[in-house]
Symmetry: C2
Amino acid sequence: MSYKVIFQPSGSRGEIEPDTSLLDAARTMGVDLEALCGGAGVCGKCKVIIMEGYFTRYNVRSSQEHLTVLTSEEQELLQEEEIAKGCRLACLSSVQGDLVVYVPPESQRSRQVILEEGREREYKLLPAVEAFSMQLQPPSLEDNRADAQRLQEALEENSGLRPAIDYLVLKDLPGEIRQENYQVQADMWKEKEIIRVTPAARGRSKRWGLAVDVGTTTVAAYLCDLDAGEVKAKASDVNPQVAYGEDIISRITFSGQKPEHRKTMQQMIIDTVTGLAHKMTEEAGGTPEDILDAAVVFNSVMHHLFLGFDPRHLGGSPFVPASKDSLDIKARDLGLGINPSAYVHTLPLISGYVGADNVALLIAEEPHKKEELGLYIDIGTNGEVDLGNKAKLSCTSCATGPALEGAQIKFGMRAAPGAIEKVIISPEDLEPRYKIIGQESWYPDIIETPARGLCGSGIIDLVAEMYKAGIIDQGGRLQKELEHSRIRQGASGRMEYVVAWSGETGQSRDVIIDQQDIRAVQLAKAALFVGAEILMEQRGIQVPEFITLAGAFGNYINQESALAIGMFPSCEPEKIYSVGNSAGDGARLALLNREKREEACHLAREVSFVETALDSTFQERYIEALGFPQKI
Amino acid sequence: MSYKVIFQPSGSRGEIEPDTSLLDAARTMGVDLEALCGGAGVCGKCKVIIMEGYFTRYNVRSSQEHLTVLTSEEQELLQEEEIAKGCRLACLSSVQGDLVVYVPPESQRSRQVILEEGREREYKLLPAVEAFSMQLQPPSLEDNRADAQRLQEALEENSGLRPAIDYLVLKDLPGEIRQENYQVQADMWKEKEIIRVTPAARGRSKRWGLAVDVGTTTVAAYLCDLDAGEVKAKASDVNPQVAYGEDIISRITFSGQKPEHRKTMQQMIIDTVTGLAHKMTEEAGGTPEDILDAAVVFNSVMHHLFLGFDPRHLGGSPFVPASKDSLDIKARDLGLGINPSAYVHTLPLISGYVGADNVALLIAEEPHKKEELGLYIDIGTNGEVDLGNKAKLSCTSCATGPALEGAQIKFGMRAAPGAIEKVIISPEDLEPRYKIIGQESWYPDIIETPARGLCGSGIIDLVAEMYKAGIIDQGGRLQKELEHSRIRQGASGRMEYVVAWSGETGQSRDVIIDQQDIRAVQLAKAALFVGAEILMEQRGIQVPEFITLAGAFGNYINQESALAIGMFPSCEPEKIYSVGNSAGDGARLALLNREKREEACHLAREVSFVETALDSTFQERYIEALGFPQKI
């Protein structure tokens, strides 16, 4: 003799011996159920809700009688309202009849999922889209409820919820539920809306999600499995809007000119993300329709251009965004090529300057959960700096410009083969040694590829080494008094330093850095430095307890060089961490754990945004910060 | 000395003398506020909610102090919760300072709006979309809230509500609010979502709504002003789906064959309604974007085809619809060419047979509010019959087929010029007299147009007169024994009666009715009759207290002829009312009063649907009803 037990939302069903505890039943059936105390009846974590199963529907006994009676321990550990709605502790209640048991999200075990890339981040898998497996009653002349209402009522019996059904799902519902004889999987978004119904007899339908970090220059996307939390595929592409301007100001200008321009800009980026989604789903063996959720982060301007919002007022004081709040927009309204019934979740902005990418960094790095006071620097086309801990968080935006990424530098280029990424200059003979992306050896040793230019980390190394070798002074001036073949006046009339000679290893012209390039680096690093300095001063500290460098760039930067040119406040080198694309990590966390979305909204409101330009000492500090620190 | 008072949602503002009652202030400013007792402080109808106005924001005094203190009469007439949320009675509270006052929908006067066409119907104007006029604070460096949040917070101050903002509205929000220096009109759907924001300085933006009755053969549409309740324009068109079958079964068959067929069918009808909307808005001097709401009714099959739902299972037992509930679908999701942010409201179905058009009839005729027990007959391609009063309502669907509308009758045609619409046959010489649509005189008097065929009312007259004259017997058989030139065997071998001779008045061939046509009329009228009979029997009555004939056809039918052939149970002729297109009236009522939508949902659940085919006596009754009643 045994009883039928069904666990929801997984839909797992099994035959269970009488007097088996629900916790043991869950374990036998592989159902994800938390039990910190291991079933000792003391932690109160294994809460489940007893639902009326459809097979007890015509049964006179109430489903509560299909369990052993409520124990005194349960009465103590559960709230009265919980007991009223059928809540029990799985380890203390044993099967006495057929049952449908709902495991609420808070009782699902943390699956110890690890985000790869950079650092290990553990998080609880709690996607916004849950799946329910159900066997519906086939209709008859006596029970000719409509398909939608039949589904909703079955779901209500199985979960206590009665969500709406997306219009597009309704269109094909009659066919979908009949295909496998009324055995269905219903995917529900945030307990509010059914966004997909598929025949379920052949096992679970794929449930994927898309996390996207839309940068000014680069778009990074991740395809994740919502059930396992793992990354199925990654892909990235150039943001095609660069064709209309490398920096955000020219994009605001262009898209603000005419509504059609704004439409074009949106279409370009939406098409790019659609392309990435198609590429990744194909690679992972599915279709874009399998993507049921998406989380997207961006800076404030990319946010507006992605959503098609009028961006004009982001470009001038008082820098007001169209909307700051997180949004959930139907994929079909955006024209994004994933499941058209899915919602695309955008993380909130902090201000017209500080975007959702910084919010994503915060939910990934979690400064608000740490005792230590950390400084978080995200180096991109716009720099963002956060300072804080449990007690308080503040942030600012720094107009670094793209120099630190290699743009607006004469020989600047992206971190691609041919780019000089590391430089050392001998203080004795002022001759450089450098490493090119794509090959192991250093110049002047065997060099196979010609140096084509300098990427961000190469530029920072170069300026730092020139300063250390005395080629530039503390004010950043190139020392023309030094008699050296590499130090010369260029065709522009400006002084320059030759990093690589033309002819040498096959390059067609001299790769140089000139006085103007050095000034651009100085302006950029001073902006970052002053931003951090003002935040620290407001907090009353001199030195942060640690520094976290985020942004893809942060991974490649030579921290010693960055400190040497004064890019950020001094800090013990072992307390400087490079964490890679934190914004992308944050997007994935928001995708896989819906509580992170609430945390993001909370943080966006709570972080105090410091407008450094409003600080009366800003100009003075900025000018002071243009120079380099004393050499150590 | 005077104070600023703003009433919402109208946005009316004025300078009011101290000690003026809010009711008088509302009257002075032309604000719509109910006061049944005329301000005597006894009816409790003039409830208003005192909001914090933005101009009291930096003011230390609370806004309640800007009014005289709560009177004991108010304490009696208001609930405790109402008082807690700032509710007052307008006739009992007087102005003592600047104020923002919200007039909730229930306190807005019934505007005694009359639906034209057919009957006078009085209803309360309470559209689902309300308009709020507001002056927003311009942003500054100190107040750089996002535009969306600025709008939401202003609306919250003005109404206590914080609705979401439709995604499309967000796109252009920055431009819209700045166009008239932050003076805006926000249109809000069901207190949940802002669906339009327009600059407001130049007066109120047009607020229109669309009511549509999608019939199997004809589509009727009305353009209404949501503020005045009046019809701005009317238009109708043929349902283009007739190209794929005149009856619902062939349309189910065609659209069930392939998803593309279903798409085509939906596109056709959506395009037709869009066309009507464009035509009407142009006529009324506006654009389709001015249409902010829509209410649509249809039978169950047209419902599925309009919404693009898979209709296959409506066509076979147990006749299960995809969804029965009322739906609110974004116009853009339907592809309907009105304001893309508007919702299209579809009224609920009662069953797979009885559609939203019958629900619309019920909210228009309101049998559930009457003491008298009425029989409501809607004659269309499918007949629907409702019986009931306050105590109970039941309904059934009758497979009449299209014979009563003139289809499937050899010389049947639509009620268009050339159609014979009225017939009298002399019992003496069996010669007919008839009237043709489009001319005044009767045959055989001066006839200008040839008779082209018979429309519905003409067919019923003809059959009734043939019976009364003894040309057909009680069983419906044409009496071939009668020697008369008009009674003959036709080319088909069937007996026939010649209504109009070829050559006469220029027609090219004899217009006849034959035995097969008469049988089709008998089958149709028997179906209606038995439907009504079973409902009456279940209710335990022999005769209804009155009969209401709905459907465009019901207006033209000769009630005496209908009674003579036994189309419906006998009833005193002065107790038979023809009400025209009740379904269309119901659609307009649902458009103009959102409480009617709730009433519709309630009725759709409460009406008991009687499946006449399940009645064991149905076959027997049906055969019996095929014959004609005893002549009186």
